[in-house]
């Protein structure tokens, strides 16, 4: 699909711009980083929603939930093979902070710059403290736990603000 191809290209261009801006004189510009991340978000969402509509079961979730508790298990099964290699061995506390761009383009390694493939180790402060309840979804009877897909990958084009983390995009000031 044309939109799909364009979305992937824009995503790749955005990432290289983000990477290039790190070596800019005067430091990272917050405004520019924010705009780049928004374009990446749009491109990523359109990419995923266009891939979804290509699938036989094109049902989209009505609302977007960061932790995917409302998802159709069939869709989970469909997506899981794509993401299993990236998220299967991730702890629950870390998976929701997974870098979106890494997750989405692991299958597109040629466009990925080497630096971006390294997963940044999260500081202790950002891992979920152990006195908080687990963020894993409560399973309904009969459901199996699949590898948790990253929250907003399957969101519709509309509202995707809540789930995106900008860890890789907005530097910690």
């Amino acid at each position: 699909m044309e939109v799909n191809v364009e979305a992937r290209r824009i995503l790749a261009v955005s990432i290289s711009k983000l990477y290039a801006s790190r070596s800019q004189r005067g430091g990272l510009r917050l405004h520019r980083s924010l705009l780049l991340s928004m374009v990446m978000r749009s491109a990523r969402d359109i990419y995923h929603s266009s891939r979804e509509s290509e699938q036989p079961n094109g049902e989209q979730p009505a609302t977007e939930e960061p932790m995917d508790t409302n998802c159709d298990p069939k869709e989970k099964a469909r997506l899981a093979p794509d993401l299993a290699d990236t998220s299967a061995d991730m702890a629950p506390g870390v998976s929701d902070k997974l870098d979106e761009s890494d997750c989405d383009i692991t299958e597109d390694k040629e466009n990925l710059s080497p630096a971006k493939q390294s997963r940044k180790r999260r500081g202790k402060a950002s891992a979920a403290p152990d006195f908080l309840p687990s963020k894993r979804a409560r399973l309904e009877p009969g459901e199996e736990r699949y590898a948790a897909p990253v929250g907003s990958c399957r969101a519709g084009v509309g509202d995707y603000r809540s789930a995106l983390t900008l860890n890789q995009v907005i530097p910690a000031f």
Partner: protein
């Protein structure tokens, strides 16, 4: 002067080339790139800042009696290094010396004062003239050495004698260490005592005399930076209400704040926002709706905003939509992807009003700039180029061909030079004189006096 424009339709106004400042070679040194242009309140002085941290001030010569219909030329009055590159050792970041904004203080005495800012530090500069010097000291030689007291037999008072005019620029105040993010705006309050400075997330209020503290009046930094959705892109004080200021955002909204309401103006008094046209939605909708400049009209009843493709005029009494919208270069809408790739989509165009708020002006690509007449609802495109720069030659309106057939003298969209952009423009506050900055040249145009 001010009323010549009211006399006729815009087609009667003929803009002529007056002067061009800057190097003529095509090889542009990065330090020479002009980054801000500003007339002072009388229009007598025109200041430019550049990427190399320098400020150049031009002064208009008085009209000569021999040629009463010709306005005076602008000649260099003062040049000084305002900011130097610095290094933030804590963050391992270089701080650019580029001058982001210059704002003139209203003149109170013989000296002129201006504020100039880079990404992190604002400086108050005093520009003063010296055309006399004291001579004939009683106790000192001409070269400054003290005389032997035993040789002094008479009392003599030094006399001020004329000397060649010297214009001195001295930094009077340095306002530093108040901004974590990059400063994008400074604006002087009509109370003549305070001014604001704005960065991506915060706006600070300063007293012009006090450098060791400022008051934070807007803070939009979220508790968790991952929740960041918008940044401040520009801010300005109302021209005559000293309690009112506006700030624009990367989301295309403008907030008007009243400092009397509370110390921290996080809650706006008014929010100006136009609903997005769903037909125009694209990957780049957010970028092109980001406001790059906001300017109050001189009469204080309107404000103008510039986003990537348009200029909008807002009535301060109406928050729901602008009262006027002017398309600057709508033909670029279908080229946003290429403009994203070559970074042009991030260009932050500025805009300005003429003295009586009847015309607004903004820049574009290919060294084009556009004027929109609000009364007659006419617009015109001109080009700033060396080829059209014979003395007093009349500027010819330019046309861009968007359809299939290109007429003679029209320029096709594909032949536009996107490396030649006019970001900064300024209009003389009282007269039809404009200053337009291309990459490293400053063009001055004026209307033809008959």
């Amino acid at each position: 002067g001010l009323f010549t424009f009211l006399g006729g339709t815009p087609s009667d106004v003929q803009w002529c080339f007056s002067q061009v400042k800057g190097a003529m070679d095509d090889d542009v040194a990065e330090a020479d790139i002009i980054s801000t242009v500003e007339f002072n309140q009388s229009g007598e002085l025109l200041a430019t800042g550049d990427k190399g941290g320098r400020v150049v001030i031009f002064q208009q010569e008085p009209e000569s009696k021999n040629q009463p219909l010709r306005r005076g030329e602008y000649n260099v009055y003062s040049t000084f290094q305002s900011h130097e590159p610095e290094f933030d050792y804590l963050k391992s970041l270089e701080i650019e010396e580029k001058i982001n904004k210059i704002r003139w203080l209203p003149q109170k005495n013989a000296a002129h004062f201006l504020l100039s800012t880079n990404d992190k530090t604002i400086k108050l500069w005093k520009i003063s003239e010296r055309d006399k010097r004291p001579e004939g000291y009683n106790l000192k030689e001409e070269d400054g050495r003290y005389k032997d007291p035993s040789t002094i037999t008479a009392l003599r008072v030094p006399v001020l004698t004329p000397m060649d005019l010297m214009v001195e620029a001295s930094p009077r105040r340095v306002f530093a260490n108040a901004h974590t993010y990059h400063i994008n705006s400074i604006s002087i309050n009509s109370d003549c005592e305070t001014y604001l400075s704005a960065d991506d997330l915060r706006i600070n209020l300063w007293h012009q005399e006090i450098t060791d503290r400022s008051f934070n009046i807007v803070d939009i930094k979220p508790a968790n930076m991952e929740d960041l959705t918008e940044v401040i892109t520009a801010a300005e004080f109302h021209p005559n209400q000293c309690n009112t200021f506006v700030y624009s955002s990367s989301k295309g909204t403008i907030r008007l704040c009243d400092m009397r309401a509370s110390a921290l103006c996080d809650k706006h008094t008014k929010l100006f926002e136009e609903p997005e046209d769903p037909n125009n939605r694209s990957f780049f909708s957010e970028i092109i709706s980001s406001i790059s400049d906001v300017k109050f009209s001189n009469n204080g009843r309107y404000m103008m905003t510039r986003d990537y493709l348009s200029v909008k005029i807002w009535d301060l009494c109406m928050e729901t939509r602008p009262v006027e919208t002017y398309q600057v270069h709508e033909y670029l809408r279908s080229k946003l992807c290429s403009l994203y790739e070559n970074d042009c989509i991030f260009d932050k165009f500025e805009c300005c009003w003429n003295g009586n708020d009847s015309v607004v002006m903004t820049g574009s690509y290919n060294n084009f700039f556009r004027m929109f007449d609000r009364g007659y609802q006419q617009d015109v495109t001109y080009e700033a180029s060396r080829e059209n720069s014979r003395p007093r030659s009349i500027l010819k309106p330019r046309k861009i061909s968007t359809g299939g057939k290109r007429k003679k003298d029209e320029i096709s969209v594909d032949s536009l030079d996107f490396s030649k952009k006019i970001i900064h423009t300024a209009w003389h506050p009282l007269d039809n004189i404009i200053a337009v900055a291309t990459t490293n040249n400053l063009y001055i145009f004026q209307d033809k006096l008959n």
